[in-house]
């Protein structure tokens, strides 16, 4: 469904077939030269028409674009025309983006693949980890839990798996008292490698922190499938506490060891030796490693790391010199393990008491429900006050308040968080109210004040009767999905990658599988159509708490980050194509269009025979107040379906009356289906909905420009002046 096809009829660029003889080749060259000349002539006409003939860079950029872009010259000229007609700066790059948006598929398999951050084996890439960690950072969870989740993600867990593991570890009940410590024993080499981090930190003069070790030990716990209760049994619990008491407040980080503590540590070592149940080999290995590690620690570093005075330094030096079976570093490590386990236990017990995922969701969703209800009540009061006592207002005043009420209602439907959680009925009621008030507005324009007052009065009662019954499940789903959607896109799950976007589309529909206005808006936002606009609002807005998560979980954001990496690696992949396509669409929808007539264009994803496909959508209409006049508008949906083949849907609304024309080789089944939606369309304000059909023809739309006399100027009419001309 290429826009270029539409122009093929009017530009009539002759094609030169390959010729075998010299004579024909000469003719071919002559034809090419003629074509080049024709193209240049058309470019001249376009530059003049859109008043950019005095910009030398524009011509240069267009010529570069014509040389670089793929496709026929007709395609490219159509892109140039679209770019200029939309007031987009004709840089080569902008032209390339618009060309991609108009002529290429936005969601090919290759492009969807590009959305998946590549991973090596089962290890999630660094980029993925960063993204998922950002998602975690935005979750409303206790900080400690977020830290553990982040650490798990670092280790290659998906967000879902990490959550599952933590919840399992926190909430599990077990009776085996020694498994966790045995597990530590069995994994002593891993433990040692973790502890080497501490040793290295010491050697670099850094103070030793418990946090990383604590997290790492929890990870060990989780990786071994242990729960906290399994892991820390009564016996060990007591032993650890005993050891902990002995160690007292001797924090590893930044504290020295007094001689009395050295003595205590020896006792602690003995206690922990039993508690940890290390086998002899492991103990020996641990101590040998300690000795080796000690040799590389400069005393000055130890001094810096344990800055509690000369006594401490002497103590450590002395211990170092006399490293033996009771190696101080061994004590130190075991002391660390003990302290960590103790802290871990306290923390996890606390967490298990205060946190359960389900409880968290229920609590949060209840709070959200209350917040949403409050907001909706405020909205109702505002709109009701606008519509109250219309008979007491002058026609002019009523016109103004009705207009404001429509704006408030439309904003509520498309923009406010409240509607995101609203039931289908609430959204439908709001839509009907908006349409009714538009009717009142029309009547006021026609001077039919009394009829308008009757409708406004009815609208007032409709507002009063509005019920906001947020769907708790929808709230919970949305809250958990925010992170999961990004996660699904970012991580490779082994299933079809397109499935991830298909799943997203399936989540943006009601129980009957129907996509509503807000679903469409949210789909476009998820794809990133609104990314830059929302970033601008976010940066300029003092309250930054609301939008950050959304900013970081749309596909555009992901593509931009991936492109940055790719640029650094000097490679160009399909993610660039996706980005160009999306950017082209965004630029074409710049609101700064000349004249009353507006044209918007975007590629919209659909699920076609369980796979991802797309529709190319053109919307054209006059402005009415701040938005497009939905009662006088035209839409064209172009698509190539797997079963039905090439299909066009032409929707024309004139004075609110709607005609839908289905263009397909065998349109009957589609026609029947669309007829079943006629009542629904009338219920939301469209009148006399008629469904028509006809054969699909291979000379499809679509009119950025109206078809004109062949061989003449590329266009004589523009979207600013005329309507879309779907020549079929």
């Amino acid at each position: 469904m290429k826009i270029s096809q539409m122009l093929s009829a009017l530009t009539s660029v002759a094609t030169t077939k390959s010729q075998k003889t010299e004579t024909l080749q000469t003719e071919s060259h002559a034809t090419e030269a003629k074509n080049t000349s024709q193209v240049q002539h058309k470019i001249d006409q376009l530059l003049t028409k859109y008043s950019v003939e005095d910009q030398p860079s524009a011509r240069e950029n267009i010529n570069q674009f014509m040389a670089r872009a793929k496709g026929s010259e007709t395609d490219k000229l159509a892109t140039v025309e679209m770019t200029l007609s939309k007031g987009i700066t004709p840089t080569t790059s902008n032209l390339m983006d618009v060309h991609a948006a108009l002529n290429e598929s936005a969601y090919t398999s290759e492009q969807i693949d590009a959305l998946t951050v590549k991973s090596e084996g089962d290890v999630i890439s660094k980029e993925t980890t960063t993204e998922v960690k950002k998602v975690i950072a935005n979750l409303k969870l206790p900080e400690a839990l977020k830290e553990v989740l982040s650490a798990l993600v670092d280790k290659g867990y998906t967000l879902k798996d990490a959550l599952t593991a933590v919840v399992s570890a926190v909430g599990g009940q077990g009776g085996n008292t020694s498994q966790m410590l045995k597990s530590l024993s069995q994994n002593i080499d891993v433990v040692m490698s973790k502890l080497e981090v501490v040793v290295n930190a010491l050697s670099q003069g850094e103070s030793v922190k418990l946090e990383p070790l604590r997290v790492q030990l929890l990870l060990l716990l989780i990786e071994n499938g242990q729960t906290l209760e399994d892991a820390i049994g009564t016996e060990q619990h007591e032993a650890i506490n005993k050891a902990d008491n002995i160690i007292g407040s001797s924090q590893v980080a930044g504290e020295g060891m007094s001689s009395s503590k050295t003595s205590n540590l020896q006792t602690a070592d003995s206690v922990l030796g039993d508690a940890l149940d290390l086998n002899d080999g492991s103990k020996e290995a641990l101590r040998t490693t300690d000795k080796e590690a000690l040799q590389v620690i400069p005393h000055s570093s130890v001094d810096e790391a344990m800055p509690s005075g000369d006594e401490s330094l002497e103590e450590v030096t002395s211990l170092d010199d006399t490293a033996n079976d009771q190696s101080p570093l061994s004590d130190f490590i075991e002391e660390s393990v003990t302290a960590i386990l103790s802290q871990l236990e306290a923390q996890m017990v606390s967490l298990s008491e205060t946190f359960e995922l389900k409880q968290f969701l229920v609590t949060e969703s209840t709070e959200k429900t209350i917040e949403m209800k409050t907001n909706f009540t405020a909205f109702k009061d505002d709109v009701a006050s606008m519509l109250a006592s219309p008979e007491e207002k002058s026609a002019e005043s009523l016109k103004q308040t009705v207009s404001e009420a429509i704006e408030a209602i439309d904003k509520m439907i498309s923009k406010q968080e409240v509607t995101l959680y609203a039931s289908m009925k609430t959204e439908r009621d709001l839509l009907v109210l908006s349409s009714e008030l538009r009717e009142a507005s029309n009547l006021l324009e026609q001077g039919k004040t009394n009829e308008a007052i009757a409708i406004v009065s009815k609208g007032y009662h409709m507002v009063k009767a509005l019920q906001y019954d947020p769907d708790k499940q929808k709230i919970m789903l949305f809250m958990t999905q925010k992170g999961e959607e990004a996660n699904q896109i970012l991580t490779q799950q082994g299933t079809g990658r397109q499935q991830k976007i298909v799943d997203m589309l399936n989540s943006l529909q009601d129980q009957q599988g129907q996509h509503h206005a807000r679903d469409v808006v949210e789909t476009l936002r998820f794809l990133g159509h609104n990314h830059e606009n929302e970033v601008a609002s976010y940066i300029e807005n003092k309250d930054k708490s609301q939008e950050q998560a959304q900013l970081q979980t749309n596909i555009k954001e992901i593509l931009l980050k991936m492109m940055k990496d790719e640029t650094e690696q000097r490679t160009v992949t399909s993610s660039e194509k996706s980005l160009m396509n999306l950017s082209g669409q965004q630029m074409m929808n710049d609101s700064q269009q000349n004249g009353q007539r507006r044209l918007y264009y975007f590629n919209y994803p659909i699920v076609d025979a369980e796979e991802l496909n797309e529709m190319k959508i053109y919307v054209s209409g006059n402005q009415h107040k701040s938005q497009m006049d939905w009662q006088n508008t035209e839409l064209y949906f172009g698509m190539s379906l797997k079963k039905q083949g090439d299909t066009g849907i032409k929707v024309k609304v004139t004075g609110g009356q709607m005609t839908i024309k289905i263009l397909n080789d065998t349109p009957e089944s589609l026609k029947t289906l669309f007829e079943s939606y006629a009542t629904q369309l009338e219920a939301i304000g469209f009148k006399d909905v008629r469904i028509e059909s006809e054969q699909y023809q291979k000379t499809p739309p679509v009119g950025v420009v109206n078809e004109d006399v062949k061989g003449q100027a590329v266009t004589d009419k523009t979207t600013n002046e005329g309507s879309l001309d779907y020549k079929v």
Binding site: V535, D590, M628
Partner: protein
């Protein structure tokens, strides 16, 4: 588009004239970078992207029509035995 956003854009238009938002776009790129948020880094593109909020672009009635057409096509692809 938020009121705040609109206000900023109007200010830039006043400051730089010709409704050319290139300066605004350059400024936004710097600020976004400071915030660690990825945005289109080409001001000639960005200035066209910040100018439209899809939530305001079309009235809800037209978004409803788009949703309904998408629904119908998806249903047809499920049901059509072809």
């Amino acid at each position: 588009m938020s009121q705040q956003h609109k206000k900023y854009m109007d200010k830039y238009k006043t400051d730089y004239g010709n409704e050319d938002l290139t300066h605004y776009a350059k400024n936004l790129i710097e600020k976004a970078e400071g915030e660690g948020i990825a945005v289109t880094a080409d001001p000639d593109k960005l200035k066209h992207m910040v100018n439209q909020d899809v939530r305001d672009m079309l009235p809800p009635q037209l978004y409803e029509v788009i949703g309904l057409i998408a629904t119908a096509i998806e249903k047809a692809s499920e049901e059509d035995p072809k």
